[in-house]
Chain length 463, copies 2
């Protein structure tokens, strides 16, 4: 395969690529709003038609209990070649507040190198570069089929919680059998600093209720002589972290895959400006977290306990001198590589039980399930192969990032039992989920180029 031929193929089809993408972006496939259900289906049908046109021998609409997904398969010539699932989604976020958009979110506009419209970066643009890349790879190599079997799975419910996605994976597990999963739904560090995500934090959520007296008590008559559930809650919640910002649940860190020195070095080479980051964090006044870790390490690679909500007693205007009968808190844990949401849930339940003072009754309700963290070691064969493909496209070293939260990625890794590889060209500045979402067209073309190289790199790596 000649690099120049790949680039030449992509450049020659650039206008058509953008025109097709604009057509798709014009379909308001907002999965979170039932009023747009027909549009989500129209988006799936449009994509299915496009993928057929692009030469995929198999294209199917896969129904779910909610919105449909699109599945397209392009088998390798060699029946023993590895298979790779490529994941993306064709649904988009809502667009409110509409008045803050400079252009119609569903009338995509090109401004210089930018394509502006809902879904341009998240995730239609990033699904789209794969077909261009695949065809560029085929054209440059002169072959009729890719060096790995490609199984493109484009979900229709990612922006509304992927509620039926695990079921979909289970239902089609045999068809989706693969050696690796390529996720194209994340971001790079910046246009100048290409990077790959290697992990996403998982999540488990709980609600704690502490009960004291059967009714609110007059604090003059009873205050100071019976347990106050709000005080007990303050003590409980304050005990969740130690003075070093570490979570105190017994065993919480036992299974955590530690950051390697190499990964910490590569993180540290990212041009990170903490002041700018704090500004983006709602003008936070200071960084704060687990001792011994940088901000990026804290949000990407370290688990946390966070109080998301807390309430009890009198919360209206003015004073009310009571001992409240109940206190409530919502707590969530972000989990990293190696941690099991169920183990953390059990540890939390036991910890609350143990730390509830005499005279107060505790109830812990865990949100069922939880999200498992996902993680791709930087020295794994598929990550190395994808990194080579990215480096060939970008002509520079590719660094590594992680993400602090996650969607359905862990389901893919768990159900398909395959390593994840993150290949994406979105930017943090793409304003995904916000108004005036955009994508950098040159980066989409770089993504297509990386995708062109990806299959031959993976074919070698996964053998």
């Amino acid at each position: 395969m000649q690099v120049n031929e790949v680039v030449a193929y992509i450049q020659a089809r650039k206008d058509r690529f953008v025109a097709d993408l604009r057509e798709w972006l014009a379909i308001p496939s907002i999965s979170g709003d039932p009023a747009y259900a027909g549009d989500v289906r129209r988006s799936a049908e449009w994509l299915a038609g496009h993928l057929s046109e692009q030469g995929f021998p198999t294209v199917e609409i896969w129904e779910t209990q909610g919105h449909p997904a699109v599945y397209a398969e392009w088998p390798a010539e060699d029946p023993d070649a590895p298979a790779v699932v490529v994941y993306g989604h064709h649904d988009v976020q809502p667009v409110e507040p509409l008045e803050e958009w400079d252009t119609d979110p569903f009338k995509p506009v090109e401004k210089g190198d930018r394509l502006i419209g809902r879904g341009a970066s998240d995730d239609k643009g990033q699904v789209f570069f794969h077909t261009l890349g695949l065809r560029a790879g085929l054209a440059a190599s002169g072959r009729a089929a890719p060096p790995v079997t490609i199984k493109l799975l484009v979900e229709g419910e990612e922006e509304s919680g992927s509620v039926h996605f695990a079921d979909l994976l289970h239902a089609h597990r045999d068809r989706l059998a693969c050696d690796a999963v390529v996720i194209s739904d994340t971001t790079m560090w910046s246009a100048d600093v290409p990077s790959m995500c290697t992990g996403m934090r998982g999540l488990t959520e709980a609600e704690v209720t502490l009960r004291g007296p059967s009714r609110d008590l007059h604090s003059g008559s009873f205050g100071g002589a019976v347990p106050n559930p709000l005080q007990a809650m303050a003590v409980l919640m304050s005990a969740l972290h130690d003075a070093d910002g570490r979570v105190t649940l017994p065993g919480f860190y036992d299974d955590v895959v530690p950051l390697t020195d190499e990964e910490r070095d590569l993180f540290a080479r990212l041009p990170f400006n903490e002041d700018e980051w704090l500004q983006s964090a709602g003008d936070s006044r200071a960084a704060h977290g687990e001792k011994g870790y940088t901000t990026l390490e804290r949000i990407w690679a370290r688990p946390t306990a966070e109080i998301n909500g807390m309430w009890g007693g009198h919360t209206g205007p003015g004073g009310k001198t009571i001992v409240p009968h109940e206190a409530h808190a919502k707590v969530s844990f972000r989990l990293v590589a190696g941690q099991d949401p169920r183990k953390v849930q059990q540890a939390f339940e036991a910890w609350v039980e143990e730390h509830t003072p005499n005279g107060v009754e505790a109830e812990v309700r865990m949100q069922p399930g939880g999200v498992r963290p996902c993680f791709s070691p930087i020295d794994s064969p598929s990550v190395k192969a994808a990194r080579r493909a990215m480096e060939r496209a970008f002509g520079t070293e590719v660094l590594f990032t992680r993400e602090g939260g996650s969607g359905p990625e862990a389901d893919l890794a768990d159900v398909l039992e395959a390593p994840l590889v993150f290949v994406a060209v979105g930017l943090n500045g793409d304003r995904i989920h916000a108004t005036n979402e955009k994508v950098e067209i040159p980066l989409l073309l770089k993504g297509a180029e990386a995708a062109a190289y990806l299959w031959e790199e993976l074919a070698v790596a996964l053998r």
Copy 2:
């Protein structure tokens, strides 16, 4: 003065006393509900008429910005005799839920020894025994005027916060000049165990706001790397008490008048059943409070810090994985003899400032004013005199209690610069502020008897 003559006088007028009281109780003088403003005034006018009938040479209606008070004065024969203000109130609590009353709250009913109706115990009945007692004392002694000048002040806003009471006291300070204030608006331990209140806790209230980021943050993207105001609030509130249940504000206990051994002994002699008390405390499961003190000492004679309300972040159904931008707490302090609400306010403000972590901004709003604690040492001349009067009436030793909360009593002590003495015959079982309020008629008559003796005891003690 002959005891028998006092008792005989009271017994002879018992039916008339109850009939008059029933007439007054029928007036729904609910000060907290503007719809009853006319009834509160009618209650004042009825009382003024009654006091004139009973022989008070001076009876006046004193206007306030809110509901009127009644003032009646009966000068001693000796112009150098001490003067005593007697405090009570003629307004009553609301009566909801009406369907839980067995009888109409404003159609007083006698059942055996009980008189049932709103205000029977709190406070019309207890105001009423004073006139009967005063006339019994005069009749028994054969004198036309009492041995001390009696200045009866019956407020009309006690049940709605006594909002204009301090102004009223300031406006009439010269008329109200006195050597002691008798408060008849509390309770005894039980019908078998007569007792006198000797102190009431004061109060100061605050609202704390902790601010972090300017908006709620996604806990996946930012969690674990910026301060969480709810966590900071939990740490702050948990630090308000130490492991022994003591309040940690610097200097908080410095000015507290300690319980004397004698007072602790007398408290301990009260037949207190902690299980029953816990049941009355909303079925609380365990006593809890400052180490080294009994439950009665904790609620009567020890200061406290209580979280009355706390809130922030997501408090609705389901999960929301955020770092909240704000956290709030309402805190109140019950204060005891010697403590100054302003000093505690200042200490709290400084303490919050000092204990707020880097990156979080704190705001403390104190409720203006606060309620000063009030306290009458058990060995003070006026308390000893009143105790003798009570013991003569009840024929048994009178023990001491205190109250955990207070109304306008501290204003009386502060503005009139006179010691307080609590003479009352209500019971905790009288269901004041609740449905089916009642009073024990024999106790009202004992109250009248104690009041008959009180003036000669005080005349001696206050000389």
